[in-house]
Symmetry: C2
Subunit: 248 residues, 2 copies
């Protein structure tokens, strides 16, 4: 069972400098002008560290925060009245959390930490000022939103059209590549704090069936996955198996 811890922001704690922000160092993002850096630094409320299992946002909730992930893994989920749960997406370093909350007035899904997570916290009402303030901060937010739309569409194709093993292959490949893009892969090894239940809730199959197909996939030797240690062995063949239209 996920714990019921909720997000708390410790104000006034020692903040690192935005200039040395870990996610800026990734090179995944456009470099900020000094002026933008100062602007963002003023908007920021503080940093928060949350433990595995924490509910960072709750579906339907109006939170005062808009968040950026500095480190750790989270899942975004939606739950049906009878308890069936779908994992919508995963979030890692560099991802934005709570855009819906800031723009559409309330959260459309829940967000839960899978391991210990560090977050950068903004007041959601300041989002508007990122659009007033000329240089492309608002554009960056749109870029992130478009990016996530694209990921959601990919997941939708998977769940709508792919077979069980294809879905597993596609998900593992996607998570691995996203992790690699933000420097979380050393050699060919990533730390995935994901259980088979998460896997099942993402690809839309029962846990039992997911387990059986995963076991068979493992035997093919394209990757090794035990506990949270995931090792990619043959990425190209895994991508083929996933039915990936194009290459890395």
């Amino acid at each position: 069972m996920p714990s019921s811890r909720r997000l708390k922001v410790a104000g006034g704690r020692p903040l690192h400098d935005c200039r040395t922000c870990p996610i800026r160092a990734l090179g995944t993002f456009r470099p900020f002008a000094p002026e933008e850096l100062r602007f963002v630094e003023r908007l920021r409320i503080g940093e928060a560290t949350v433990a595995a299992g924490t509910q960072v946002f709750q579906e339907g909730e109006k939170s005062p925060y808009l968040l950026t992930v500095l480190s750790g893994w989270l899942i975004k989920t939606k739950t049906l009245p009878d308890g069936r749960r779908q994992i919508i997406n995963y979030a890692i370093a560099g991802d934005l959390l709570g855009l819906q909350n800031a723009v559409l007035d309330k959260m459309q899904h829940s967000v839960e930490a899978l391991d210990d997570v560090r977050l950068c916290v903004f007041p959601k009402e300041k989002l508007w000022s990122m659009f007033e303030h000329p240089p492309g901060l608002g554009f960056d937010v749109t870029w992130l939103a478009a990016q996530e739309k694209s990921i959601l569409a990919d997941f939708l194709v998977s769940v709508g059209q792919r077979s069980a093993s294809e879905r597993i292959a596609f998900l593992l490949l996607t998570l691995f590549r996203r992790a690699r893009a933000v420097g979380l892969v050393e050699g060919a090894i990533a730390d995935l704090p994901i259980t088979q239940e998460h896997l099942a809730d993402t690809i839309g199959f029962s846990l039992a069936h997911t387990n059986k197909r995963l076991a068979r996939l493992k035997r093919s030797g394209l990757f090794d996955w035990r506990g949270s240690r995931f090792e990619m062995i043959d990425e190209r063949r895994l991508a083929e198996l996933a039915g990936q239209p194009s290459s890395p």
Copy 2:
């Protein structure tokens, strides 16, 4: 088979005035300041009318355009290498097309007209200027993107967790409500230019199976659907059947 017609923009044709824009009249959007109106009017290239079956965008393509739907229905699709197709979302009046193309450099999905469609055409490189130019045009784009993320998440829950009849109920309900929100429902009747094959490609089931479950659903009398004429009879019960968390 969908025809292979492609989008062509007739420049310099008589344009209606942005002040009398049909989608502005809907009341779905925030009213524009006169200054914003003039700004948008200058950005616009022209209007385009495309016939049913036209491929407005092609997956992987870099188109010079960013579009707004004035009237008609379209589908956004992604196709796997072996031909399996997933309908990602539907677009109607007020929706934005080609954001990925403008922001992420190329289209991640195809867009096809289901009936005759009127479009408002912008040059995609001008998107940036909507963010430079202070009052909230850029914010509106983000709002639309967040909105669509929310729809995609809903579809993902459906395809991942719901049974066949629940998925059908949910999709019909969603399309009906979106149509109603932009004034396309008179009485309880909407014109849905959708075949059972579209339905099947959206909910992730085979055509045969979709047909059988739909037939059973029809017998329950919650709606009437023949050809393109869709009549909602018991919206509340259909919503219950769809496993909708909250009410209209």
